[in-house]
């Protein structure tokens, strides 16, 4: 908890990876005050309201000085919210909060103090504080769903063109088309995220643009799938060389079921040996499991016998709900965070939570591009994340 330190530059903006932790701690504390009846005074310093023209280094120093009265742990606790606001809590009467408030108000006379520096009382105004926290986390507003990729207007490739592209892929050098992204472990109490795996995958849109210019390979799902398998098999062929395989390390390979049952993968799986296999997480799209349940059952037996960790990937929550709990046993889950997860009423959320497997430590939340994703995950016991909010630090 950020009780003693102030960000080096309060106006420079928050640390996206740690602020959800502060926010969640603050929300927990507000609830504790309600339960126990303990009184606290709260000062909300809305630094996010400061207009850009006032965001200069010299203001940083002045804001720090004004906050000085709060920076002793016996006096107050300070929390940093996503979006840049600070929240200070102190036992009543809260003289130090008042002092800091007066100092800040003098610095920024343009903005009325009631707006810039609201004061709240706990437990009476806990609901108001929780609203502030939820808004800062982005949990109150589903926000804009990232726009679905607009149809390109390009024609899909014909069968002969697809055949030619898959032939070209079989010998292409994919080095420039591989993408890596870290999967982190970040629990509510952690000071910093710990890397767990590096996800490795071919960048399909770039590859398609290079091999099938003027054609839209995503126009039909089966075309996209076929192209994906060809690209993955090429990547696996490159990985299945002794030197590459040794260097693979802790990796997450999201692969189509068809690629996992091909010669290239089986060569890699033999090359890695038991120790190497134990460091890799395989992800299989849920759609592939449905299209070929017999093949998936075979892969599951292989994973169990040979020491692979296996995750169900790209499952929509609505689909997840249909699986019997025992069908997901021993499987990890890669779930994509979308703002739509925040939408819906309590019933919808309860249904979704019930669909998540009981063992939340086996869930990776991908697409964690905002603090809201981290907060949403933490509320459900999820502590593994992949996304820009952690990479951009």
């Amino acid at each position: 908890m950020n009780a003693l330190t102030l960000p080096p530059s309060p106006l420079a903006g928050p640390d996206p990876a740690t602020t959800p932790r502060d926010a969640m701690a603050l929300a927990a504390l507000a609830r504790d005050c309600v339960n126990s009846g303990v009184e606290r005074r709260v000062l909300h310093v809305r630094l996010s309201l400061i207009p850009n023209r006032l965001r200069e280094p010299r203001h940083d120093r002045l804001v720090r000085e004004a906050l000085e009265p709060l920076l002793r742990p016996t006096r107050a606790r300070l929390y940093e919210l996503p979006g840049g606001d600070l929240v200070a809590l102190s036992p009543p009467p809260g003289d130090h909060l008042e002092e800091a408030r007066r100092g800040l108000a003098r610095l920024l006379p343009e903005i009325p103090a009631e707006t810039l520096l609201p004061v709240m009382r706990l437990p009476a105004e806990a609901a108001r504080l929780l609203t502030v926290v939820e808004a800062a986390l982005g949990l109150d507003d589903p926000g804009e769903e990232p726009p679905a990729p607009a149809p390109s207007g390009l024609p899909p490739p014909g069968a002969a063109e697809m055949d030619a592209a898959t032939r070209a892929l079989a010998t292409a050098n994919l080095a420039a088309f591989l993408r890596r992204q870290t999967i982190w472990r970040l629990a509510p109490g952690d000071a910093r995220p710990q890397p767990l795996w590096t996800e490795l995958r071919p960048c399909l849109p770039d590859l398609a643009a290079a091999l099938l210019p003027g054609r839209d390979v995503s126009a039909a799902p089966w075309l996209a799938r076929r192209f994906r398998v060809a690209a993955e098999r090429r990547m696996l062929a490159e990985l299945a060389r002794p030197q590459e395989a040794r260097a693979l390390g802790d990796a997450c390979l999201p692969l189509s079921l068809a690629s996992l049952l091909e010669t290239e993968f089986l060569r890699l799986e033999a090359l890695l040996g038991p120790a190497g296999r134990g460091r890799v997480l395989l992800g299989v799209p849920a759609a592939d499991q449905l299209a070929d349940p017999a093949g998936f059952a075979l892969l599951r037996r292989l994973a169990a016998a040979r020491g692979w960790a296996l995750a169900l990937d790209e499952a929509e929550p609505e689909l997840l709900r249909l699986f019997r709990p025992e069908a997901l046993q021993g499987l990890q889950l890669r779930l994509r965070f979308t703002p739509s997860l925040l939408a819906g009423d309590g019933t919808a959320r309860t249904r979704l939570d019930a669909a998540l497997p009981a063992g939340r430590e086996g869930v990776v939340l991908t697409g964690a591009d905002s603090p809201a994703a981290i907060a949403w995950g933490w509320q459900r016991g999820i502590i593994r994340f992949m996304g820009r909010v952690l990479d951009g630090r």
């Binding site: 049952l261 089986l266 033999a270 449905l290 017999a294």
Partner: protein
């Protein structure tokens, strides 16, 4: 002009060399080219691993069968792993005792014909050219302990392709052709004639019925005509909900087609009729409505409420 001398196939020479190189007490494992392609590939990978560990080699016979000769430990482990993973145990030949039976077996297996690999373009052309009479298949079903037909399935003839993805693609294309013929009085005669009075089970492409729905009867009858979709349609829940709602409104009950008899044990779909291969053992959570495909019909399928192909 020279007449080429008759040649001993290369695999015979290689087999002779590898048998000669193997110390006594070695083991030969013959893996027949059986089961789905993925299982065969998996078997090959395990045999090749055993060859590396057991100082031996894997020989591909012309018909697709595989022959491992290696030290007994790794060879036995590979054979056991293959049996556990694929459910199909390979044959073992202890050497040198069983060398003669092994050679005879290899010789017989060598006559099998390999399955051709399809390109997308070739498959597309093949499926478009197939005469409707051959592309459509009518299968009759009996119910429970009975053996007189109560239902008929009109669907695409399976091509028996090795690749599940290509088979699914061919199914989609053939389903669309069937549907077009069914709604066109001029072409309907090319389809196998439907029997009056039998419940209809109709294979549909993944997206359900395109555009104007084909009316089946009054909505809400779970034993009404059955629209059969591939299980993969579930992967897009919103689209699935939409297409099945349209089908139900037009009087269809919904069936899902899976290639694995264990699939109903994984998903909970109370309003769905499962259509699965008739496996030796019943599924772990027997669904309320079940249609078992294939013959012979195992005894557990002859139970009330289960449709099967055991038609006399």
């Amino acid at each position: 002009m020279t007449i080429p001398a008759p040649q001993i196939p290369a695999w015979r020479n290689t087999l002779a060399t590898s048998l000669a190189a193997l110390p006594a007490g070695g083991l030969a494992i013959l893996q027949p080219a059986q089961g789905p392609r993925a299982a065969r590939r998996l078997a090959r990978a395990l045999l090749e691993e055993a060859a590396v560990l057991g100082g031996g080699q894997v020989l591909g016979l012309p018909g697709g069968d595989l022959l491992l000769t290696a030290a007994p430990g790794p060879a036995q482990r590979a054979a056991r792993a293959i049996a556990d993973l694929t459910g199909l145990p390979p044959d073992s030949f202890p050497l040198p005792e069983a060398e003669q039976p092994l050679l005879a077996r290899a010789e017989a297996a060598a006559l099998a014909t390999p399955t051709p690999a399809w390109t997308l373009a070739a498959l597309e052309a093949h499926v478009a050219r197939m005469p409707l009479e051959g592309a459509a298949r009518l299968t009759l079903f009996a119910s429970g302990t009975g053996s007189h037909p109560v239902a008929q399935r009109l669907g695409p003839a399976p091509l028996g392709l090795d690749d599940p993805e290509l088979e699914a693609l061919a199914r989609e294309a053939l389903c669309r052709r069937l549907l077009a013929a069914l709604t066109d009085p001029g072409m309907r005669g090319q389809l196998p004639p439907l029997r009056p009075g039998l419940r209809l089970i109709l294979d549909l492409p993944q997206g359900g019925l395109p555009g104007g729905a084909l009316r089946a009867g009054p909505p809400g009858d779970p034993d009404g005509p059955l629209a059969l979709l591939p299980l993969a349609a579930l992967a897009t829940p919103a689209a699935f909900a939409q297409s099945t709602a349209a089908l139900r409104a037009a009087g269809w009950a919904i069936g899902l087609l899976a290639n694995d008899a264990a699939a109903p044990a994984e998903l909970e779909l109370p309003e769905i009729t499962w259509v699965i291969p008739a496996a030796a053992a019943p599924p772990r959570h027997p669904p309320a409505r079940l249609i078992a495909l294939g013959r012979p019909v195992p005894a557990w399928c002859r139970a009330p409420g289960i449709l099967h192909e055991g038609v006399a």
